[in-house]
Symmetry: D2
Subunit: 381 residues, 4 copies
């Protein structure tokens, strides 16, 4: 029997001033499968309450902290079905662990944890709990990223030889964290964010996208992390060379001091006979260049797209879908996995939805990059 009610989500984090909390709310609800019904939105009970009001949820379900939420929700007949984690990074592990222990599946913002050691710990906790755990590497939700992944898997490009992935932002070109801007402040504080700055905030997205699309694991890297803005406590500009398992080489550029850039995530994959090029700021097109044929642009909703890409397209061609829609794809896949699990299946996520493995690899990437930078040399992965 199909459950026709919406799944109920409890959110931790996402209180006043947050950017990513409301994004999770929209994304979770967009496809009509999930509704936000409870939350511990802030470490201040008062602000959590205000947030609950702004989300228009039952005031009784805006909790003073995540422990209280889990405690109370467990007992309700209409309990939340899972927990979404949207806090600063240092809380990802404790909240996820508490949720899993309380029997709640988890959908977590990235990175999985604040440190690599924590990620390994969390991996154990997920395995032990046997519950679905999803990680919102948003960019994996774009239809044309799915298409790019399908193309790599199909072998159309020939063996992959070279990858260039860049993630360039400019918003931290000045010491914004010194002005009290909330988004900048926690990111620039190693205690809240973990040891990586730019590498952890966006480098890890670029890393994930690269492995996700190519299907290739990294086996070594040589990274240089710089802190360009005086006084900043974390890196804000990173370059890494990566060796991939098939002998290919990747270059990863991540910067938050690339003045003028918005959210410039771009992936290029070069194979023996052709290449692909995807840009997050123009997400509904995928460019393919061939050694011998004309350049091709595949458009979202094109009838010629792979099943994986078409499965996540909502609108006809020429109707742009964006960041929120990509985010919502992950929630939709999570909802499907959750329904299957509720009906007795093992909590296997679909291969298109990032989970704890991606989380551990991402944290390992940060860890290895910092180590490589310190030792000024190549390191194994």
């Amino acid at each position: 029997m199909t459950v026709h009610r919406k799944l109920r989500m409890g959110m931790v984090g996402g209180g006043p001033g947050a950017f990513i909390g409301p994004v999770h709310r929209i994304a979770a609800e967009l496809d009509g499968r999930i509704e936000l019904v409870a939350g511990a939105f802030s470490q201040s009970a008062k602000r959590s309450c205000e947030a609950g009001e702004s989300y228009r949820i039952d005031p009784n379900r805006a909790y003073r902290d995540y422990q209280a939420m889990m405690e109370a929700e467990r007992k309700r007949p209409d309990a939340i079905d899972f927990v979404a984690i949207v806090t600063p990074n240092h809380l990802h592990l404790p909240v996820a662990r508490a949720a899993l222990e309380a029997g709640f599946p988890v959908m977590s913002d990235k990175p999985a944890t604040a440190t690599y050691a924590e990620a390994v710990e969390l991996e154990g906790a997920v395995a032990k709990a046997g519950l679905p755990y999803g990680l919102t590497h948003t960019y994996a939700g774009y239809a044309l990223v799915r298409e790019a992944r399908a193309i790599c898997a199909s072998g159309q490009l020939g063996r992959v030889r070279k990858v260039v992935v860049e993630y360039l932002q400019g918003w931290l070109s000045r010491a914004l964290e010194a002005t009290g801007q909330k988004q900048a402040a926690w990111r620039a504080d190693p205690a809240l964010n973990g040891p990586g700055g730019c590498i952890g905030d966006i480098g890890v997205h670029a890393f994930h996208l690269m492995e996700y699309v190519t299907g290739l694991d990294t086996t070594g890297l040589n990274a240089t992390l710089r802190t360009v803005v005086p006084g900043r406590r974390v890196d804000d500009d990173c370059t890494a060379l990566l060796a991939l398992e098939n002998g290919a080489s990747a270059v990863l550029l991540a910067s938050q001091v690339a003045a003028g850039e918005g959210n410039g995530l771009r992936l290029r994959v070069y194979g023996e006979s052709g290449s692909l090029d995807w840009r997050q700021e123009d997400p509904n097109r995928l460019r393919l260049k061939w050694l011998e044929g004309a350049e091709e642009i595949r458009h979202a909703a094109g009838p010629y797209l792979s099943d994986d890409a078409r499965a996540v397209t909502r609108l006809p061609g020429g109707h742009p879908e964006g960041y929120l829609e990509a985010f919502a794809v992950l929630y939709r896949e999570f909802a499907d996995a959750l329904m299957a699990w509720k009906q007795g299946e093992k909590p296997a996520l679909p291969p298109t939805l990032p989970g704890i493995r991606a989380g551990v690899r991402g944290m390992k990437f940060i860890d290895r990059a910092i180590f490589s930078n310190q030792s000024k040399s190549w390191v194994d992965f």
Copy 2:
């Protein structure tokens, strides 16, 4: 006192196979102010019921027809707050009239009605009811369309001299209506769609966008409507010259047989000292070209944007918003207007939200274009 609950929406139309119904559901709910709770989704009670299930609403609120919905909902303590109309065009007037007579505000898909005469009748009904009536000319919801409108109003371009608006699609390049494709079938049937084909389906969007952005009313036009695909019963390719109230001239191209095009709506406005260029398929950029300075690209969420544009941006720069987000802007403005009206204010829509005036002008455009085409001459508007 602010009402913190979500507004309740009842939908007419949007049953199985519909494209625009689910779009309205997403758009209405996206900003967390509205929830779909009831509907008469199909003219078949069984299919209406199925649709209700897919929308995950209370089975008791999936009605067999719109009359039943209005009748029943009026009596509920948790009645719907307004009616969304997403049926084929010929039902827009009867449903809207019934809703207004039952005291429900209306949010209608475009065009307002099937004929100009109906639009005039509806205008009277709206005035008489004194209730909010919104029209989802989606493209008016894009942040950079708002920016373009603010630029025209500011006089930065100088007096407007020339406008080029084009809306090119290719999906009706073949006689799709003869294959039973639902979207094509009703659009190609004058009894369901009204007398205009392409001119009514997309030409009216182009017309609205042009007047909306420039702030200029049309005073005359000379239109040529063609039916390119053999056997089709309505026009599928249109060209119109328009005279604008300030003496400027506009060219409007609309086609559904422009093979290879997706949803190519584009507006260019040329003034004395510069011009603007907006393309729906690349909606987060607005191009400005100046007689003497460098070309400019304004990006969604740019700190330099007008208040009107920034008011409808949800994400930081570089995070693409698309069609659904633009649609949701209209619902958000409608929700605000509804709240104000509930609190005793007159039902004045904000000038940025298309309402019955836009609906009447759009229907008049179709009517005049058909007449001009028949008489092969300029006609007054």
Copy 3:
């Protein structure tokens, strides 16, 4: 026997302050087949002499007028092989006639003459002389225009249904002719330019490009010409609907008051199964969109291009060629035709090189457009 010397060119017009004269010099010489050796560059003997110096030709071959040039050159053993005409339009006919009568082939800047009647006269003179006559509709020299032409001829797009050609410039947005700017002054003077302003200066290029690429003749048109800038004596903004011989319809937009535009010539051709899109400001790419397949971008020098396109490409892929190179293609074809004629062949131009037929049709277009505008109706072509 192949003649290995360069062909010798005598130029009429192109004196100090001219734009197009130096362009012809570069274009003619670019491929190493032609050299400028003589000229009557100005109606002032002194300025003609100065121009000769700037072109670094023999001072004895900088003539005081074109009659003197033809008279003197006929007698030289190293006489010029042909005459290039780059004067204002009103001199095109007399110079061409004089050259043909003196036995010199002609390469003329467009339009062929100042009026349609003159063009018909010139057509007779060309036929009578039996000499090569070429017309520099520059845009026909671009490799990807050649590709577009080959695609239309091949039937890949299916039957052509709709054409949109636009040529938008902004440089006459102000009354530049009133400031003494030479380029603007003669173009705004009907005595020098002929009766058409924008329609004759650039509209005719758009018209030619449309017929050249589609291979379809125009059979009727409905044009509106406007004079937007107060005090201007010729039209500066034009819109025309054209009926094509196969039943297709074309829209032609030309404007010189499109503030902010540079040299925005663009052609879109829509067939039953796909469309092509070429833009002069991005000339090394040709976009193809298909009803069912992915969008394609063909690049100059692509190994997949047609013979016609590859024949006029000089550089490997990714090395941009531009306006001068396109211009030079026409001179190269003219040089080849001239060599063939010198070796006894009839002066048949290759079909890719515009000649007197294109000249007559262009002038007829201007004539018909002016008449249609005056009569506010469709006219036959």
Copy 4:
């Protein structure tokens, strides 16, 4: 007194099958200041003769080798004014040395020599001869590269923090050199090309462009060179991190196995308050992004451009200039320098024209990159 005759060029290299020889011929002659009159086009006398014929020069001036050319030309009253070197790299030094010793100024294709040691030797020879020596780093001739250079010099971007320069080609994705293709063959032979493959062929262009535009010298680098195509004897894919004198960091990517790429040279420079972005395949636009203002696109021939950029623009806005025109800019500057030198001035090249210093730095870059790659570490520059 100004010399009004054209300067006479003698070319070494550029025989049948050559790509760059004809390019130099066109570029040299394009602006009407120079003419090719002599050459030693091939190491085969017969082929040199054939080449002379194809260039339409006096058969007596197509020499069997460069020594013969210099010997003979010295004695002519109409001797060549300078020597252009377009041979494979291993001949650059001997030909340049011979020319300088014979009193002929030199315009050389890049790289200056085959090895760094040779470059140092050549630097001495240039200094000793006291003659003009130019190096055709073509990309320095584009108007918008000049604009980019002027912007960096002006400080508008603030202090430069990060540079990304990439030069991606795909044409060597297969072992083309094994097929006998001439262009591939000599480039893949260290004896003809020097020790660097991709790094020397195109990496050096990217390196030059970076230093040329930013005005910053490199002080250290860490390079990785790979040979991707099996059996190839030189590198075909390179990545380098560079430390710049002001503390900024640059990333340089060069590849000839980036399947599908044409001639993808692109430079991005990030400063404290904005950035610039120039792409060789779209050379008439320069993109500027600002931390706080709208993105800007500067167009070739824009009235707002710097003097340096406007000085090298030949056509009005919207008329694309390309690779040949950029190349011709260097020859024009060289011609001006040559005229000044002939009139007694010291042979100072303008700072915008690459000369022997750029040649030495380029060869040092290759040398240091190879050493860094071997030692797998940062090296001083």
